[in-house]
Amino acid sequence: MLKVKNLVKEFQSGDHKVKAVDNISFEIPRSEFSTIIGKSGSGKSTLLSLLGALDKPTSGSILVDGQEITKMGDSKLIGYRRDKIGFVFQNYNLIPNLSALDNVMVPLEFAHLSHAEQKKRAVHLLDQVGISGDKQKRKPSRLSGGEQQRVSIARALANKPKLILADEPTGNLDSATGQLIVNLLKNLAKTEDTTIIAVTHDEAIAHQAAITLHLKDGKLVK
């Protein structure tokens, strides 16, 4: 499903260049929960940004379901991000003045679904991640960290993406809640037929995945 070949991302730092991602190649099959592990500064967040088309690589290719995303124009990338990718962020990144339900409806609005359809799917997704009833009408400030992350996962699933990219999804959660989130992601990979790649620095979480990629100084190591 995901094929990465000779991926490089360079940044200018002062008067010299830094390779945040240094010639990485790997493949991840469909509907798998995979992890990328590495210490801070290893390049894992940069790699995730490249996989999610949030940034453009310096060189290399990324194939998602046969589509070469590194060659896409900006307007096509908008559609790609809307339809093919879901994001889960370490600090949830929910829109603070919208309810949990409204937050999940935002990507559905970008997909031009009717309001009724948006609401129906959003309610279903929130139920699926364990946010139901009155909690769906609460704003993020009235939800716990774990609940906010569940809402974020529901939002990521909104347009039935082929690939979900989770950047340190348990980073701001306690271990028990974090484990709940990991379990949720593992289940959803199967039930929603979506490939999930989670970036983490937590070994315990990383080894729960079927595939674990180790990143160090921008390179994949065994």
Partner: protein
């Protein structure tokens, strides 16, 4: 929830900030509205004052005002030349003289000398060695039997109040004479008639000739009621000033042509004449109104610029504050256009609410503010008129009084005019400012790649 509703919701995200921005913008909007109303109102009043003052031009011999000064009088030919000019609709010629009550006429003046008259007589005595009554008197003293001379005006038009120095002109007995006549006829002021027991058909002596009273008039003021009127030619002949005139009043077809006709007369007559218009006189009085208009215009521009800067900086601040959110929206599939529209909606909501509140405040506070401006300008107007060294207090007394009264009344009655077209233009300007103010910062932010935007924190 769509982009528009999210944008509207975002406008109220931070209650304190929203309230502050709306308050500041509303002040700017209300100021702009008040200044706009002031400008429009003053424009209307200036036009009204000019219209009420009229479109006449006065041509006097250079160096001569009334009976003061010296030089050569104008002629009938001058009047004919002026009448032939473009935009001239009418010309009134007058010749005046002071009939000495002992040597020129047997009429007695109804005006008592008083301190002013006696002073004039005393100074005449001192200069010429004879009294104005023609009798010798002790040097340095007004003669004991001094009487005021009687003013005589020969005119080509009995309908021109300015030419007659009259506030009004009503026939109390008899009829008007034919102004084109050269017969020895006259109309007398009511005070002259009373003093000399004259009635219609009575005769009196003037310049050694017998003159018949055709009518008696009330000119509305003491000075004018103490004079006599004659047909122009009659007056010229009797006073030995044949073919001469000391005042030509010109009427133009509109206020707009006053200036061009004035220039044409100056060109034609050159140094022989002083040419002034009622508009010249009014310009001194209107100057404070013009000042209000100028101040209002600059204040209006300043308010609009301030409002535009406020909304621009506000949206810039908001967009920068929500960089990460913009990155997230792009990550989950929002287009650049969607982001710009969302911020534009937020900006429009803030601007529209501010405009409505500002408009209401502007309407409430416009009258007190304009009244303050008017009071200060009224004082300035009075000072301007009295202190102007070039201001003519002589032969244009009647027209000056009319102009001054018109301006004073206009300024007292100055009040704000509310027009829907005014408000619609203002609203359109506010919307344009809101759109530009928000589109620019959000457009630039939206162009940035999501990873850079989200990396910024």
């Amino acid at each position: 929830m769509g982009i528009i509703s999210r944008g509207i919701k975002n406008a109220f995200r931070n209650g304190i900030r929203t309230t502050s921005i709306i308050f500041i913008l509303a002040v700017s909007v209300s100021m702009a509205l008040v200044m706009l109303m002031a400008m429009k109102t003053v424009q209307q009043k200036i036009a009204s004052v000019k219209s009420s003052i009229g479109n006449s031009i006065t041509v006097a011999p250079a160096g001569v005002r009334g009976f003061e000064g010296g030089g050569t009088l104008l002629t009938d030919q001058n009047a004919t030349d002026i009448k032939a000019m473009a935009h001239v609709t009418g010309v009134v010629e007058t010749i005046t003289d002071r009939m000495q009550t002992t040597q020129d006429t047997n009429l007695a003046s109804p005006v008592t000398p008083g301190s002013f008259g006696n002073r004039q007589a005393q100074r005449t005595q001192s200069q010429y060695g004879e009294s104005s009554s023609g009798r010798q008197s002790a040097s340095g003293q007004a003669p004991a039997n001094f009487t005021m001379p009687i003013q005589m005006i020969g005119t080509s038009d009995l309908n021109s109040l300015a030419a007659l120095n009259a506030s009004s002109f009503n026939i109390t007995a008899g009829a008007k004479f034919d102004t084109s006549s050269s017969a020895n006829v006259a109309m007398v002021g009511k005070d002259v008639a009373t003093k000399n027991s004259l009635s219609t058909g009575s005769t009196f002596t003037a310049y050694g000739q017998t003159v018949t009273v055709s009518g008696i008039f009330d000119a509305g003021n003491t000075f004018a009621n103490a004079m006599i009127l004659m047909p122009l030619k009659t007056a010229q002949t009797l006073s030995s000033q044949t073919g001469q005139t000391n005042s030509i009043i010109v009427q133009t077809d509109s206020i707009d042509s006053v200036s061009s006709v004035q220039s044409a007369i100056k060109t034609k007559l050159g140094d022989a004449a002083d040419v002034t218009s009622a508009q010249d006189t009014s310009n001194e009085a209107i100057a404070p109104l013009q000042n209000i208009k100028t101040i209002s215009m600059y204040s209006l521009i300043g308010s609009l610029v301030a409002g535009a800067i406020i909304i621009f900086l506000t949206m810039l601040m908001i967009v920068r504050e929500r960089r990460r959110e913009i990155g997230v929206l792009k990550a989950i599939g929002s287009s650049n256009v969607g982001i710009v529209v969302m911020f534009m909606t937020e900006s429009l909501v803030l601007t529209l609410i501010s405009s409505i509140i500002g408009a209401i405040a502007g309407l409430i506070f416009s009258n007190p503010i304009l009244n303050v401006l008017v009071t200060n300008s009224e004082s300035a107007s009075n000072s301007a008129m009295m202190n102007n060294p070039n201001h003519d207090h002589g032969a244009m007394i009647a027209r000056f009084a009319q102009a001054g009264a018109g301006v004073q009344n206009a300024m007292r009655n100055l009040h704000a005019v509310v027009g829907w077209d005014l408000l619609l233009y203002g609203l359109a300007a506010a919307i344009a400012i809101a759109i530009i103010g928000s589109a620019v910062p959000s457009f630039f932010i939206a162009k940035i790649r999501p990873a850079e935007v989200m990396r910024a924190d």
